[in-house]
Symmetry: C2
């Protein structure tokens, strides 16, 4: 944490020494999942002040009728009261010299109503005059596991290195859940809704130099200050990759965004130019954000776009090849020398060795093929990296044998990836059986812990690696 004199305005949000919960429920207890319980259960180490005029104690903490009565200073306040109560309580916060607030409450300009607009204008004025920084309104606020802050009791407590800045609360929850099941953890997640004060550029500016963050993803509906966004994204991209899911770029989507966070979406052409100019990676779904994070955290940069594919199934190999080439990768045939070596390794008639090369049938046979086969493919001078697809459904076998063999195959791939001179990406494909889905989730997490880039489909892997290469090409052009 920075010392008090050099404190960044956002440190009052990420490292508050005290938090007031305005509108804490009177019957909240530890484990109840309310705003007070979230901080207590997440191990927030600062002061917590529940505010409720009808309670004297909440979840074992002394409750106050309003912020003005709190004895010590208040760095940060979370608003969970009806919209009409927000302006008068903001006035209290001004008197109390609260540094920053998160307004969870919705019902402002996103409603399109005059009343909502007027309430929002009031808050903006009070905040500006009292120099209170605001997250929201109409948002979930901050998840910062290292600092004991969360907006969901179910989120992981371990911190990671992925930051997510988003105008969507439900989308943020979905991303944390999905990413968690793939083994990813977060440095900071900020759901900032209508963005009447703090906007994407403010968070990006902070994250650019945040040592806890190695990868930044954003969900943006609109920004107020385009030039500031350009500057802050440029500052980030020089230091770490930035991925943006820009929502509201279609006619209907733009209208929906207006009604969600009152955002002005901007035109697709403008955003397209922005992405190209800044080296930002544009994605279209939350799943693509996760695939990009995994690629940046666990995949080394290959020399080029030529991929050697290894997996079971002739037709599935043809589909995999088409998918890779459509994503901008190249799947050249292996050299005659490589093919000769692969043929000796695969006694099976009809198995292709051209690229893709087919492994033998069965997970155990596949794993034993990897020992020599990946080395041979890696040695091919026409190949820059390897993509192995492990189709648990086509390898057959069920129950504990399948589970154990899949985990063994994962360990083999983790071990080999450390000895290969070219990067290795892995796709575990589960198919439709719940038990293979369960085993694949476990294998994916194990691979990610083991430092391996792992994906759920070949489409996802090919798209992510192609974008990853484009980012590096952009950075290189900038450097030269």
């Amino acid at each position: 944490m920075s010392s008090q004199t050099q404190r960044h305005p956002l440190d009052d949000i990420f490292h508050p020494r005290s938090v007031a919960i305005i509108g804490a429920s009177a019957n909240e207890t530890r484990g109840s999942g309310g705003w007070v319980a979230r901080l207590l259960d997440f191990g927030f180490s600062g002061q917590i002040y529940p505010i409720n005029p009808r309670a004297t104690e909440i979840a074992g903490l002394k409750a106050y009728p309003n912020v003005r009565e709190i004895p010590g200073p208040v760095d940060y306040a979370i608003f969970a009261v009806p919209a009409s109560l927000v302006p008068p309580i903001m006035e209290d916060c001004a008197v109390k010299r609260v540094k920053a607030v998160h307004i969870f409450t919705a019902g402002f300009s996103e409603t399109g109503s005059e009343r909502g607009e007027a309430l929002q204008t009031d808050i903006e004025r009070i905040a500006r005059e009292a120099n209170i920084r605001v997250i929201g309104p109409n948002c979930m606020g901050v998840y910062y596991p290292a600092g004991g802050l969360t907006f969901s009791p179910g989120f992981p407590k371990e911190p990671g290195s992925v930051a997510f800045v988003a105008q969507t609360g439900a989308g943020s929850s979905r991303l944390v859940g999905l990413a968690g099941s793939r083994g990813l953890r977060f440095s900071k997640v900020i759901s900032y809704g209508n963005a009447i004060d703090l906007d994407a550029p403010d968070f990006l500016d902070y994250l650019a130099t945040d040592e806890e963050t190695k990868f930044i993803a954003c969900y943006i509906e609109g920004v107020k200050d385009g030039r500031y966004l350009l500057e802050s994204v440029r500052k980030c991209v020089r230091a770490k990759p930035v991925v943006i899911l820009k929502a509201g770029l279609t006619e209907g989507g733009s209208g929906a965004a207006a009604s969600h966070t009152a955002a002005l979406s901007g035109s697709a052409a403008v955003w397209d130019a922005f992405f190209k100019q800044t080296g930002t990676i544009a994605v279209e779904s939350l799943e693509e954000i996760i695939d990009m994070a995994i690629t940046f955290l666990n995949f080394s940069r290959p020399q080029g776009r030529r991929v050697g594919i290894v997996g079971r199934g002739g037709g599935l190999g043809v589909i995999a090849t088409d998918v890779c080439e459509k994503a901008g990768l190249r799947v050249p045939p292996y050299t005659a020398d490589t093919r000769g070596q692969l043929e000796k390794l695969i006694p099976e008639a009809g198995a292709s060795v051209r690229n893709p090369v087919e492994t033998a049938l069965g997970l155990r046979a596949a794993a034993s093929f990897y020992e020599e086969g990946l080395k041979i493919v890696c040695g091919d001078p026409g190949i820059d990296f390897i993509l192995t697809h492990v189709g648990v459904d086509v390898y057959g076998g069920y129950g504990s044998a399948m589970h154990d063999q899949l985990l063994e195959a994962a360990e083999t791939l983790i071990r080999l990836s450390k000895t290969l001179t070219k990067p290795l990406a892995v796709v575990f494909y589960a198919g439709g059986r719940l038990e293979t889905v369960a085993a694949v989730m476990e294998a994916q997490q194990r691979c990610l812990e083991g430092g391996l880039a792992v994906y759920s489909t070949i489409e996802a892997a090919a798209k992510a690696i192609s974008r990853f290469l484009r980012y590096h090409e952009f950075i290189e052009r900038g450097m030269s």
Copy 2:
């Protein structure tokens, strides 16, 4: 089954009165999963003749040293012997007047070797001279649950109405598995590999008038007779929808296809013209085949492309809108009247009613919203159909309560879909937790049984419905 005099050549394959298994393993038993056991365990009702010179009995059936010694007639033979043994045994089949064979064996022209080419030429000559129809070589053959035929012991025994014709064996297995987990069942699946005799057009010609088949999907790497394909596809499209996954359309993919089934892929432009000219639906993955099948089997034709979206999460609604519009659908705002009615139903501040409309939080609240909300959206004159997305991850709740509430929500949607005057499509989104994945799989199957079109992502639903509308527009133009 047709009477013997009017027998279609393919009836010897789909309705053989007797099957010889050439190369049956001597120690095969029921349940062992071998070719003999597959037929026995699947309830094939005709004669089964295991052929193995070193056995007198296999799985309780009398074994013969070669096909010529079989006492009765043989309609169909399955070859599971090394490639070099196939030509001499084909000569035996010619003597025995076997009507059709499936050559499972690989190692022919797909290897690119002179020896493989020569062996394949031999088989082609023998088959032509003796008028033996051939599936393969280098393929899995036939899965026809109603007739007791299968190439995998794990496939469902219940028949359905989806046919799949494919040059890929592993891909066919994957499709049956994935489709099965979504609740789909098959009329006939044919994996036909190198296609030295019977090719995609032969199977399509048969399926066009096959009453057991309502939807046809193909995986094609190449065809020998383009004109015949055009004719047979036209015959099908007049009667039922045809979906084609054309593999090998990229440079690398075309090379991979040559090495998989020795197919000549053809150019992307030619295939594109073919799809447009015939009204065939082009897809890019096995998953898209399944989504098309579900749409054609369970979704009624809407009047147009204007969709009313219902689901939780403002940002997720914006993403959903973008996804739908990018897929060629339209998401217009609801009328003022509709919005007014929806506002009364949703007391929550900040919830959008513009389109998408946001349901309240929680699965139970969502289900109770559907009762009135779907009727209101359905009544909007600017909307042609409804898409409801149920994000189990954002609704929160876990364990048996989540499971039961999800199933209740599914039952509510099934019931309401029968009363609505416009078509309803549903997306169940599981997120990353295994227990939600399990519950969603169950809810999807229940919806499919209940006649509801159900998908795993909004992307999948939007793409499939857009293609479905394009098919109907094509048919209509042809009729007018």
